[in-house]
Structures are given as structure tokens and as C-alpha cells.
């Protein structure tokens, strides 16, 4: 991103601490976490979005399902006034984290910072739902596309 004169370089980062260091939860459990925003200097953050979601990885197009979404726009709850935050959400019964061969399902928490006059910044923190063993391929498809 190019910068205009006088605009300082930002290296934002978001440190997230889950209430469980293993970051492994069962379906329908409540996840609690705290986050700390650093590296934003005096830049004006106009909004923070914090969300919990699953998304697919692998050969197919990415699909995404949202479980929790919250938008904060009050200046008193935004950096630089307030750099810490916490939130909690209850996981649904499905889907569970899955490490397949061509389909993978991952759960994550995202904290997205929207700056005034700058590009937004997103920080993603993966966690596990359930504890399933990874899948192994048994046989190749008869007509594997190239």
C-alpha cells in the first residue's frame, strides 16, 4: 500500500488468548477469549469486527459459515482509547473441524480493524471443534480432473 506524505507505517497485530490453551473445544461449548490490539500507533480505528466462523479448504471453492459476528463502532471501545477486548460465543453442534483429503473444515476467530483512510487489517486465529482423526485417501477417483 502506498503512503501519502506524513502517514506513518503501521504494523498492526492482534494477540488473542483463548480460555483454553489447547484451543480445542467440543460442539455446543462456550468459547471465551481476550484480545489485545497493538502496533496501530495513533491511527484512528473507526470500527472493529470480531467474528467466529468455519470455512472450507481443499480442492473445492471456499465455503464459509458464520457463528458469531459483532461490530464495534463506539470510539470509547476502539483503539487507541481501548486496546483490549473480550468476547464469548457458543459453538453450534456442527460442523466439526475436519482434516480430509480434498475437503477440510477449519474454525477460526477473526478480528478485523477498519482504519480511517487506510486499508483494513484482519487477524485470524484458528481453533479446533471436536477431535476427529485426519482422513486418508483409499482410492483415486476414476476420472481425476487435471
Amino acid at each position: 500500500m502506498s503512503r501519502t506524505a506524513g502517514q506513518e507505517r503501521l504494523e498492526p497485530r492482534v494477540v488473542v488468548n483463548f480460555d483454553r490453551p489447547s484451543r480445542r473445544y467440543d460442539p455446543q461449548e462456550t468459547v471465551r477469549l481476550q484480545y489485545h490490539v497493538a502496533g496501530t500507533g495513533d491511527a484512528q480505528v473507526r470500527m472493529i469486527e470480531r467474528s467466529a466462523l468455519w470455512y472450507t479448504e481443499g480442492k473445492g471453492e471456499e465455503d464459509l459459515g458464520i457463528c458469531f459476528f459483532e461490530r464495534i463502532t463506539d470510539a470509547e471501545h476502539l483503539p487507541p482509547t481501548q486496546r483490549q477486548g473480550e468476547f464469548a460465543f457458543r459453538l453450534p453442534a456442527s460442523p466439526m473441524t475436519y482434516e480430509g483429503t480434498i475437503v477440510k473444515i477449519r474454525w477460526c476467530v477473526r478480528v478485523r480493524l477498519f482504519f480511517k483512510g487506510r486499508r483494513d487489517f484482519v487477524s485470524e486465529h484458528v481453533f479446533d471443534v471436536g477431535e476427529l482423526p485426519p482422513a486418508m485417501p483409499l482410492r483415486q477417483p476414476p476420472t481425476a480432473p487435471r
Partner: protein
Amino acid sequence: MVTFRLPRLFEKKRGSRRTGSQAWGQFGEACFYGSLLVAGVVFTVILGRRILEAPGFASISLWTWLLTLLLPGALLSIGGSGLARLLTGWGRSEEGMAALRRFPEMFQPSGRGFDANEFPSVPPWENFNNSPGTMLRYRLPLESAESWSVFGFGLFAVLWNAVVILLAVAAGVDFVGGQTDWLLLAILVPFVAIGIGGVVVFVRALVLQNAVGPTLIEIADHPLRPGDRCDVIIGQGGIGMFRQISLSLELEELATFRQGTDTRTERRVVREEPVAEWRAITIAPGHRFEERASFEVPAEAMHSFASLHNAVTWRIAVRVEPAKWPKFTRHFPIVVLPQRTGPTLLNTPPAGIATVGSGR
């Protein structure tokens, strides 16, 4: 202070992410859809005026109106819907858009007899449970890929041979009239060969599907959970010898992706649990092979999953090897729910979507 960056001519693609500006991309899309919309409006105005000023305006039929407005109507609908989609997503994050899309789901009646959010992303199973079995509780529907193949072969044979008949009639009329169109005859020969081939393939598929008789699967319970044990009954119609009939439980992954302008689907079996196997079976006329077995869904199994482009599906696979016909496999999908995890909390509200503060 607002940063402004001109668009780059060449951009990099890193995985699914691009280095280009999203704002410029959206601006380009807006220009494209906007121009379609403007073109639609201009066409509608010009064509409308011409029709209204035409001398025989009152006698213009409804079909003429519809045909005339087909192109501007398509331009208006594509341009308008594209612009509406862009405006809805303008300035929103990927998560924000997903949350916005989720609202209609939250207010929809589930139609399943339980909370629609109870098992998000698990495919619905009503269609598997609406056919009662004669010996066990449910009769499972057959995955219809085989029937669709036969239908596809039949459709191709009919359409292709219709074209062949038209060409043959044209060639015949020429011949009766004392003319011989050699080019038409040259085209007709390979067309007739392909037409005959299409009919042969269709008849073969039809005979294969029906000659060995239908396969029937009934199960005692559905949907299932990891660790559940379930009784199953297999029935196989047909006459004569079968070398082998086997039953297994399979887990298949399915991924749909775009490659250029094509949409492709890849399937991969990642788990196969043998259930039962029978060898050297003879079915007498008027009877069918019928056996009972039981299977267990693996305790650490992934549940059934379906999203727009990806799926993980469980199914019962029946492999049949007749003595006189080619062997075949028939699949009967089932739904496996997630593992039970402690006391149920299904009636407590799920995680929510909220906006804190004054909004944008």
C-alpha cells in the same frame, strides 16, 4: 486523510488472495453492470418508441412484444441484479456479508420438526425417512446417478437421431427429385454411425440397469450417530447366479471447483468399512436374495456435511457381481449426525450476531 492508489495493470494471485485493490475491483464490476443497465434502458426506450410509432401498432401480438423486449429485459435484469449485489456488499467484510446472509435463515421455519440451527451444515434427511420399510423401519432411496446416466444416454440418442432423420429426409427428397447432394451424403454417413452407436449405448445401459433386478436396502434407524450400531437388510432381485454380493459403509468427500469456465466436481472415498459379503448365490425365479446384517458407524467418524461447494457424505455401498453381466455398484446415502457431547444444550440460544455502537 485518504490514500488513493491507481489500479495496477498486472496483479499477482497468491492462493485465493490477490494483490490488487478490492475497491478498484468493485469499481470495475460496478462499471460493467452499470453499462449493461444503461444499455438495457437505452434499448428499451428505442425499441419501445419504434413499436409505438409503427403503423400497425394495435395489431402487434403479445409474442412479438415479448421477443422484442427479450434482449433489453435480459440486460436490465443482469445489470440491475449485479449492481444490487454490489451495493449490498459495498464496504462490508467477508464475515459481515456472511452474517447478513444468515439473517433470513434465522427467521425461516425449519420444516424439519426441530430447530434449523440445531445441526448447521448437516444435510437434511427427511427424504431418507419418508419411505417406511417392510421389515425394518426405513427403506433407503437409491442414489440416482445410474438412472441419470441412462436418461442422459437416451436423451442423446433421441436428439441425435432426430437430426439424422432430418438430414436423411433432406437427402431423400433430393434423390427423388433427381439430384444427389454428395456433401450431405458425406455428412450423413458419420452422423448415422454415431446415431446407431448412441442407441446401442442407451439400450445396453437400460438392459444392464433392469436385467439384474432392483437392489433394496432397509435400515432400523436413521439418522445415525458415530458409535451407533444399526441393523440393515439387503434385497437383490434378478434371476440366476451371482458370484458375489457385498455390503460396505463408505465415507466420500466431494469438492466442486471452477477450472477456467468449467465447473468440475471431484469425489474421493476416504473410508470404507466392510459390513458383509455373500458368495455363489443363486436366485430362483419369483424370489429375491435377502439377508440381514448389522454395521457400526465408527466412533471417531466425521458427521455428514454439506455446503455450497463441498460435502462429506456417508453411504451404504452394494457391490454386485452377476455371473453373466458386468459387475456394478449401487449407493444408498445416509446421514450421520455429530457425536453426542455431554448434556444437550439444543434449546439454549446459539451464538448471535450483534452490532455494538452507533453503526456505520
